[in-house]
């Protein structure tokens, strides 16, 4: 089984592997990182077995390396995600993601009466609870949590 997984999501020469993404949130991660708008070769697998998550997804992006502040954005939906940086088929660095203190322009405010849902305003949140992912809207001050988190595509 393990071998087949590796067969489906094949190895890359240089680039980034993002592992341990919750299966349900694979496409959110793709949106957050803007992977749907780039030319690089990308392979992904989803609904793979995971001891930690039950089912996980994995994304392999050839020829692309991320800055910490960019990759940390996915912590909102994939806080357990792990990154392997690959150079010449070898893992040269492993990284975990950290939820940043503030989130700009990724998530939608849960409050329909918030100005950000009624006029063109870039959303901004303070992360008030990193463990449970609770975001306080900079504008309307309401809390958006993981259960009602919507990613702006």
């Amino acid at each position: 089984m393990k071998d087949r997984t590796h067969l489906v999501v094949s190895a890359i020469k240089d680039g980034t592997v993002i592992d341990h993404i919750p299966s349900a949130d694979l496409f959110k991660v793709i949106t957050i990182l803007g992977l749907d708008n780039i030319e690089n070769q990308i392979t992904f697998g989803t609904n793979l077995e995971s001891k930690k998550l039950g089912r996980k997804s994995i994304i392999k992006i050839s020829g692309m390396f991320f800055r910490n502040e960019d990759i940390n954005k996915i912590a909102l939906v994939a806080p357990e995600a792990k990154l392997n940086i690959i150079k010449d088929y070898v893992v040269v660095e492993k990284r975990i993601v950290n939820i940043p203190d503030t989130i700009t322009g990724i998530a939608r405010c849960v409050n329909p009466m918030c100005i950000t849902n009624n006029e063109e305003v870039v959303t901004k949140f303070t992360v008030v609870n990193k463990k449970d992912v609770k975001l306080r809207c900079h504008y309307c001050e309401k809390i958006t949590d993981r259960n009602n988190l919507q990613i702006i595509s």
């Binding site: 009466m113 918030c114 100005i115 900079h138 504008y139 309401k142």
Partner: protein, 311 residues
């Protein structure tokens, strides 16, 4: 030195949320409001133009701000109804604020959308005072409430505050709770089940080590109160109209309930009142809500002059 620093820090800074000010800054505003109460008519705003932008009507708040500015010799421009403003033509808030901030030294705004004032303060070239953004914040109301409490009790420390009525949606009670929690208040929350104080505020009080009690009625406990803060229980807040009919009378304050209260106890209400305070209470020396509204003028004079760096 501390005063100088405070003045410096409040100058040109918008007031959007009660969380924008520290305890020291609340007290600075209250001290200044007391000065204006002694001498409300001065010329310090001469040559200044304040814009009052009321995207939804709020006659009381607007008149209070305009009275505050007029008594200090400033001029007021603005609108109080979006039918007469450019937003009916589809202008965005962004454009309205960018334009109007060219015409004035300070913007006072009320808007139905939450967060609109914070957004405006980021676009405006002049400071913005939030006069209510939907159900979110109305910080000048909170400061005038603090002024009224301190004036009647001679202190803000260690008081017992009864918050009665709609504690779920009432922004004034939420902001007052946040502000008074810095003065070691004790709270009694009295509301129907459907309109209880939200958990997040109780967690805030727990974190600050502040005591609170929840009740459904208050006739038997009212003797503990230093301040009774009444709010309107609105029928439309109830999912079950029968529940409303059953409970509405439990949240009406009547004269005969005030027999055994503390001598210095006062009744506050952000107004407008509908039927939650019986008219017979108006004649009692415990009734303070109309004076509370007058205090709003002095408090707003203090806020405006601090932000403009004139006091």
């Amino acid at each position: 030195m501390k005063n100088l620093l405070n003045n410096y820090m409040m100058k040109n800074r918008s007031l959007i949320s009660i969380n924008d000010y520290t305890k020291e800054e609340y007290l600075k505003i209250l001290d200044l409001a007391a000065e204006f109460e002694k001498n409300p008519n001065q010329d310090i705003l001469k040559g200044y133009v304040v814009a009052t932008l009321f995207f939804e009507p709020s006659t009381r708040t607007r008149l209070s701000f305009e009275s505050a500015v007029n008594r200090l010799g400033g001029k007021v421009i603005g609108f109080s109804d979006t039918n007469t403003s450019s937003s009916t033509k589809g202008e965005t808030l962004r454009d309205t604020i960018r334009t109007v901030s060219n015409y004035c030294d300070l913007i006072v705004m009320r808007h139905p959308l939450e967060g609109s004032s914070r957004f405006a303060s980021e676009l405006s070239t002049v400071p913005v005072i939030n006069a209510g953004d939907g159900a979110n914040q109305h910080p000048t109301q909170t400061l005038l409430d603090l002024y009224s409490i301190r004036k009647t009790q001679n202190t803000l420390e260690n008081l017992t505050i009864f918050l009665i009525g709609d504690l779920k949606y009432g922004r004034t009670v939420h902001s007052l709770l946040i502000a008074m929690s810095q003065f070691n208040a004790k709270f009694y929350f009295i509301s129907p089940n459907e309109l209880k104080m939200p958990e997040e505020y109780k967690i805030h009080l727990d974190n600050m080590g502040i005591k609170y009690y929840e009740h459904k009625e208050f006739a038997d406990i009212v003797q503990h109160a230093d301040i009774i803060y009444m709010t309107r229980v609105q029928k439309e807040r109830f999912s079950d109209p029968i529940e409303y009919e059953r409970t509405k009378n439990a949240y009406v304050l009547r004269m005969n309930m005030l027999k055994d209260v503390k001598p210095g106890m006062k009744v506050l209400h952000p107004l407008p009142r509908v039927s939650e305070i019986n008219l017979d209470v108006d004649e009692s020396e415990k009734a303070y809500y109309f004076t509370q509204a007058l205090n709003g003028v002095y408090t707003r004079q203090a806020i405006i002059t601090s932000i403009l760096g004139l006091k």
